[in-house]
Amino acid sequence: LALLARQGLTVSGVAGHFSISRPAVSRHLRILAESGLVVVRRQGRQRYCEARLERLDEVSHWVERYRKIWEKRLDRLDEYLIELQEKEEKHGKE
């Protein structure tokens, strides 16, 4: 994907960069195409692959949303744990 992010390549062009077999490269490309991260276009006899990185941003969108939720949640947990210990301390003294 990082390779395709720089420039569009043919399937053989992609395969040339990896030590794995061409069918294996095709398989990886198919998975990327299914997830919408790569678009494969036929031009004559060649198949050109291009990265669609904006899809990756979409994927990260929910991740960022959850990161914020967890950060806020854990802030509250932090406060609650302090509160809880203060209470327990008071009870201990009484």
Binding site: L56, R67, R76
Partner: protein, 164 residues
């Protein structure tokens, strides 16, 4: 080689947060596993948690309700896959309806790309009276149809739960 770079890209989609709490590990564990405690902090600021049920055993489920300041309820559920007392909790996390049925995020008007099931791993380490907690949150891959995927994952998790 290509496979490594692929997992690298996917790794970016996971969340990992580490916090050190000024509280003993046993208390942090209880805050995560006992409803009366969890209800006090689960909702982010402004939110409340009016309902929380925890069946803390491998294969057991939880059901939480988070209420927004506007009064909108968000239910979530999941299954415990691994429980190591005071050390580690692994569970799934999904949106749910009030009956505990898994629903997609779109049920609550949220992005369709939020995975139907997510995996949450929480680990607790004792730091001489303080606690280091690490939270990992990752999306689980969906199959061709989300409903089929959900059934599939549930089945495999049930099996995993049985084998543990």
């Amino acid at each position: 080689m290509a496979k490594n770079s692929l997992t690298g890209e996917r790794g970016k989609q996971d969340i990992s947060i580490t916090r050190i709490f000024d509280a003993p590990r046993e208390l942090v564990w209880r805050a995560w596993t006992e409803p009366e405690h969890l209800m006090r902090w689960w909702g982010p600021k402004g939110f409340t948690t009016p309902f929380c049920e925890i069946n803390l055993r491998v294969g057991g489920r939880y059901l939480n309700c988070m209420r927004s300041p506007q009064g909108q309820d968000y239910w979530s559920t999941g299954t415990y896959l691994e429980i190591v007392p005071l050390e580690r909790i692994v569970c799934t996390d999904s949106f749910a309806d009030a009956q505990g049925n898994v629903v997609p995020a779109t049920y609550y008007g949220m992005e369709a790309d939020i995975p139907l099931q997510m995996l949450v791993t929480v680990t607790f380490e004792d730091l001489q009276g303080k606690t280091r907690m690490t939270l990992e949150h990752a999306g689980l891959p969906a199959g061709p149809t989300s409903e089929g995927a959900s059934a599939g994952w549930n089945e495999s998790f049930d099996k995993l739960a049985e084998s543990l």
